[in-house]
């Protein structure tokens, strides 16, 4: 770095320090907020192996632009700065530090992926930067006691499993349950969620558990072992490849349990088709958002509004992508929290408001699902609806069910 650049950098820093102290004096604004602007930071994988998730960040940006064109929030425009981290944790640390220390964003929003968020978890909490609505489903993000600046969004794996447990207790009270899970935190979240949901009946009802490693070639052996336990209910917590193997094997060996398949592995294209569509008939899973390909939503005003947004912002190629529905819902929640803050845009207040969501409805979530948070509960979505596979697609059934995570 040349001396001149250094001088410029120094002057900028001094300037920012003055600007910072001036806005603190007003007592209303945290860093990154002025009378006309709110700066929001984000990281997304726009390149690299996970780049298909990058649609999330692009949808956020387009949605915030739309809000800005309509006059912003209380007269303030959103300045959304989204940086590419390629899903690489060291890059996330770098980008987030740039967002917080150089760009001086007010808060971080929707940072995507479990490893990237793990890498910045300590940093943001140490520096008291709101880390809102992380885009990952692990249970650990809902920990306001130890990490009061980090809040999740999606129903956690544990909550989903808890929902299956509630259904089982109600409809299959004498079930003998077998569990197949991936041997890592994700799989164990499901197992623990099920145990928590079943409560003191867990020890009696869960008759067998088997785990697999992601490096295993197949899960055939595990499936056969679980059948041998005499279980009549199977919960599968597996990623698409192993979910497809499980669906196929269960059918092929003539086992007919009530099969609950985790939402991580319920894609029709990636799981049900490779397994054989007829082999998955009757399998139960759960969801919380409207599937953009489901015809039952396509005449609703909510879907039409989403579709119009997608088409008018250059996303017409992504109108079957659930990620675009999820990204849209994230952005709407962020806007709602900022609205709730009014003119008191401090970092403390934004956390307080984010932790005070009460029955907030989102147009692209399933009817009946609302967002609720409290100072002890940083997981906004805790409800899902069950769905059954009919050989072509998933059909919703029953009521929306709540779970409470682990």
């Amino acid at each position: 770095m040349t001396a001149k650049q250094m001088m410029v950098a120094g002057l900028c820093m001094a300037g920012l320090m003055f600007a910072g102290s001036a806005s603190y004096a007003a007592g209303q604004y945290g860093p990154g907020v002025t009378d006309t602007e709110i700066k929001i930071g984000n990281t997304n994988p726009y390149s690299g192996p996970a780049s298909s998730y990058g649609i999330n960040g692009k949808v956020h940006a387009a949605y915030f632009n739309m809000i800005n064109e309509k006059g912003g929030i209380n007269g303030r425009k959103i300045n959304y700065i989204s940086r590419d981290d390629s899903y690489s944790p060291p890059k996330t640390v770098e980008q987030v530090r740039q967002l917080v220390e150089q760009d001086k964003v007010f808060l971080l929003f929707g940072t995507l992926g479990t490893p990237p968020n793990m890498a910045i978890h300590g940093y943001v909490n140490e520096n008291k930067v709101p880390h809102l609505f992380v885009a990952t489903g692990a249970d650990q993000w809902n920990d306001p006691k130890h990490f009061p600046w980090t809040m999740m969004f999606l129903p956690s794996y544990g909550i989903e499993s808890h929902i299956y447990a509630n259904y089982i207790l109600k409809n299959l009270p004498n079930a003998k349950i077998a569990v197949l899970y991936q041997n890592d935190d994700y799989g164990k979240d499901y197992l623990n969620g099920l145990r928590a949901g079943l409560g003191d009946k867990a020890a009696k009802m869960i008759v067998a558990t088997q785990s697999y490693e992601t490096t295993d070639p197949t899960v055939d052996q595990q499936v056969v072992a679980l059948q041998g336990s005499g279980a009549d209910v199977l919960l599968t917590a597996a990623i698409p490849k192993f979910a497809a193997q499980t669906v196929r094997k269960v059918y092929d060996i003539g086992w007919k349990p009530t099969h609950f398949l985790n939402s991580v592995g319920n894609s029709v294209g990636l799981v049900m088709k490779p397994a054989g569509l007829e082999k998955g008939v009757g399998i139960i899973s759960a969801t919380y958002h409207k599937d953009p390909t489901d015809p039952q939503w396509q005449n609703t005003p909510e879907y039409k509004e989403w579709l119009a947004f997608m088409n008018s912002h250059g996303f017409s190629g992504s109108i079957t992508d659930s990620q675009a529905v999820i990204g849209y819902s994230y952005a709407q929640t962020m806007i709602e929290v900022l609205r709730m803050c009014g003119d008191n845009l401090t970092r403390e207040n934004v956390m307080k408001q984010a932790a005070s969501l009460h029955d907030f409805k989102l147009p692209m979530l399933l009817p009946g699902i609302t967002l609720n948070t409290s100072p002890d509960d940083f997981d906004p979505i805790k409800q899902m609806q069950l769905e059954k596979f009919d050989g072509t697609t998933w059909q919703l059934f029953g009521d929306v069910i709540s779970g409470s995570g682990t």
Partner: protein, 344 residues
Amino acid sequence: MAETFPVDGTAKMAMGRKSATAIAVWRWAGTAALIAVAVVSPFMLSNYHVFELTQVMIYAIAVLGLNILTGYNGQISLGHGGFYAAGAYTAAILMHRYGVPYWATLLPAALVCFALGVLFGLPALRFEGPYLALVTLAMAVAMPQLLKYFDNWTGGKQGLVLVKPMPPPELGIDRDRWLYFFVLLVLLIAIRVAANLLNGRNGRAFVAIRDHPIAAAAMGINTARYKTLAFGTSTLFTGVAGALAAIVIGFVAPESFTLFLSLSFLIGSAVGGIATIGGAIVGGFFIEFVPNFANDISDAAPWAIYGLTMLLFMYVMPRGVVGTFGPWLAHALQQFGSARRAAK
């Protein structure tokens, strides 16, 4: 920085003894000035820039390792990201599972990566050029999955969160600056060690094998031994860099060590100048800043900009920045020296 000549020494031999001394003086002065800048600059920069420069130095150490292997010994590696990961995980596991203080993890990481490199170097003896590149590519491709497989040790895909080192309180500097100086110290030691190694008989043996393996063997150089040694030394440096990265970032996960990291090292090495020591530092700057620079120019096609920048560098300076300017600078100094003598 410290060493800007092609190592073959012809330039040195061509010079008169006096001008060589003059150049040595200039070099010492230059090195001292650079070190002074490196020591002072963190106090004039924001924490974020200090952190960025720390990253630059870590990459520089990794690239320095690759330069020893590829530049001086002529063995191409596309797998140094894997050794970087091995170093990072050695440090991370020692810190996380055994509570070893961060500074004490560098030596074990160095030893582990040296051993890995030697083991890897043995079969590599049978391969040359593009074939060796493919073999090492296997290392880079396999590493993230291996890390997920041994998840009892590595934490699997969740990775390991490390406690960030605290600076000694009596120094009165913050963590970013402390880590900067810690890494700077390691970098200076690494440069010193590399310069000693490469300017001595080991270095001459490396280069001889690179330039003409048969002639080298005919001169009595044990090529197998030196090629393996080059491999081990190279991965040792890169492994230490990986350990530093784990310490500075405070988190390791398999996603941190993708194939692209290995490619970045090779790119940094080529841009800086593969058979130079100073080139490693230029390479570190390139790896750290050019992707960000490309991102700032174009959101839509950052990698196209990245590619263009790389092409431009290689087109204008085919021997890398230091490989091109180093001899030029040496020549200029020599002219300057003789002009002064003539004036007397």
